[in-house]
């Protein structure tokens, strides 16, 4: 083994983090010489930190840590709009700033934009008043209120362990009252315990119930997308084998559910890819924890299983890229090629030394609903392997503009095309 190869092998041992059995390994007795050059005896690996065999490569390790956004929003004049890039003819501006940890976006019937939190406790309403936008807190003291849905005047909020509602919310933004709980049949877990929620074409609430771990056999109640009636009754599992979906939407023509799913961590720099999936039948299984990205079995949970048992993704969205919010583009402001395409926010990888994502991609579909191609649409959040912002969700406005939330800077941006009216400012 050359020094370089050995270094890679050591890094791999560290990354896969088996018990450091090599620390106790004694060299096997040499085989009797029978001609040829004997295989060199395996030596315990050298360490880069003296006296610390548990740290094979501190430099690589340091690049693989989680990334936490600040709890306080960036000042509006420090938002990174000037560094963001779009295809020709598009432009981006700040829609609203000062919204710490801005996550899911939903549009009310009267034009209010609702913005949620995951790490913090609030839900915000952004109201356009003659070009000037007011940002107000409409609910606080909530437990990871990441999921939002809107139906006929009522805002539904999905927290860690419950779904609640605020009726006629747009008529009482200044005095919304307390959210009324309609459903709470969830286990309490911090790992993947926040929820994404949407309103289906069947007028039911769809909510992800994540797997409470990086990789494990999730409880029967978890690792799924579930739907319930608007009164909280009639719960039904729509998709299983889902690790953690933080974005879904329905095809405007076929009405089929498409959802993003985040692949497991700590497998490899380049595997597995996050997935875009499509539900064609209620109750389908999408592979977690046995099969990743539709084509290989997990190194711990996959023995005795085959990827043929499970639904395959319709697109692979990059390893560890954290594909989150997504919407079909149903507006008319953007060029025709974007009609019914999917915009997906990739939050950006953390479990990868060379970061990827931190962008919005445009996924174009064939007539049969399969994926034709995808390409980056909004880029620039990732600069020199560091994030200057991290996109979470997208929202198509009535005028066809696309909003993008950024939970790192605490802001919402607006993308428009051509000479369309620039709202506000």
């Amino acid at each position: 083994m050359t020094a370089a190869l050995r270094a890679i092998a050591i890094a791999a041992i560290g990354a896969f983090a088996a018990a450091p059995s090599w620390a106790q390994q004694s060299p096997a007795p040499a085989a009797p010489a029978a001609g040829g050059t004997p295989m060199p005896i395996h030596q315990p690996p050298p360490t880069t930190v003296p006296g610390r065999p548990d740290i094979p490569n501190a430099e690589v390790n340091a690049k693989l840590r989680g990334i936490a956004p600040p709890p306080l929003p960036a000042p509006e004049d420090k938002l990174p709009v000037a560094q963001l890039k779009l295809p020709k003819g598009f432009k981006i501006e700040v829609f609203a700033g000062g919204i710490a940890n801005a996550r899911s976006l939903r549009l009310g019937d009267k034009g209010t934009v609702f913005v949620s939190n995951r790490l913090l406790d609030k839900v915000y309403a952004v109201v356009d008043r003659g070009g000037k936008r007011d940002v107000k807190v409409i609910a606080s003291g909530l437990d990871r209120p990441n999921g939002l849905a809107f139906h006929k005047g009522t805002l539904y909020i999905a927290e860690g362990t419950r779904i609640s509602k605020l009726e006629n919310i747009e008529d009482k933004l200044d005095d919304p009252g307390k959210p009324v709980v309609i459903y709470s049949d969830f286990l309490n877990h911090q790992s993947h315990g926040w929820k994404f929620m949407g309103l289906g074409p069947d007028e039911k609430l769809y909510v992800n119930v994540g797997s409470p771990c990086n990789i494990c056999e999730p409880p029967e109640t978890n690792g799924q997308i579930r739907r319930i009636n608007l009164d909280g009754g009639g719960a039904e599992v729509v998709a299983r084998g889902v690790r953690n979906s933080v974005g879904f939407d329905w095809h405007p023509v076929t009405r089929e559910l498409y959802f993003t799913d985040n692949g497991r961590d700590w497998l490899s720099e380049d595997l597995p890819n996050d997935e875009l999936n499509r539900v064609t039948k209620v109750g389908q299984h999408f592979g977690f924890p046995y099969c990743h990205q539709g084509d290989f079995t997990d190194r711990e949970m996959g023995w005795g299983r085959s990827c043929d048992e499970f639904e395959k993704p319709v697109a692979l969205l990059g390893p560890h890229s954290a594909a989150l919010g997504m919407r079909f583009y149903t507006g008319t402001m953007f060029p025709k090629e974007y009609r019914n395409a999917i915009f997906i926010a990739r939050h950006g990888s953390w479990n990868k030394t060379k970061k990827i994502g931190g962008d919005i991609i445009a996924v174009k579909l064939n007539r049969d609903g399969s994926v034709k191609s995808w390409e980056p649409f909004l880029t620039g959040f990732l600069q020199n392997n560091e994030y200057i912002g991290r996109p979470v969700d997208v929202l198509v406005m009535k005028d066809g503009a696309l909003l993008v939330s950024d939970d790192h800077s605490g802001a919402v941006y607006r993308i428009s095309y051509g000479n369309a009216r620039v709202a506000g400012r």
């Binding site: 450091p20 989680g66 709890p71 877990h189």
Partner: protein
Amino acid sequence: MIVAAALIAAAVLPASAQSLEERLPACLACHGEKGQSETPEVPSLGGMPEFYLIIQLYMFREKLRAVEIMNDVTKGLSDDDLRKLAGMIANLPPPKPAGDPADPARAQQALELIPQNRCNFCHGANFAGDQNVPRLAGQREDYLVKTLREYKTNTRRGYDASMADVMYPIGENDILALAHYLSRQR
């Protein structure tokens, strides 16, 4: 103890009544004047990264972490107060490790758990912490046990879910070994 109680009482006065410099001694009555806590299950704050301190102070102020006394003492502080207070606390010297030598079996168990669970990836080679990740070296053993148990049972809310992910496969015996070993690191 009486002095400490008086200082705590002083600390829960409205923020406007006292400057941060006047309030700090009340914090350190429990957390330790020289960064080293002598109070059971109360953490030493010496050597903590400033960003971690801002996050925790913010979570206490907003009641995202429910600890009554901490919710009371941070009530009414402005964002700037949180930044300044974090800066003042971040200057305290790191705590000294627990004095008695580590039990070899527990240390060995911890040394196997640490790379398996990649504790050092975020907490650093010497467990000094960095940015949003706290220092572990020299922390009170009883506080480490308490905190790891709380993460394991989802009773302590992390700022993000990292520790909940990490604790999923870790058992009670492992928690005791990790706390034993880490409290003896410098």
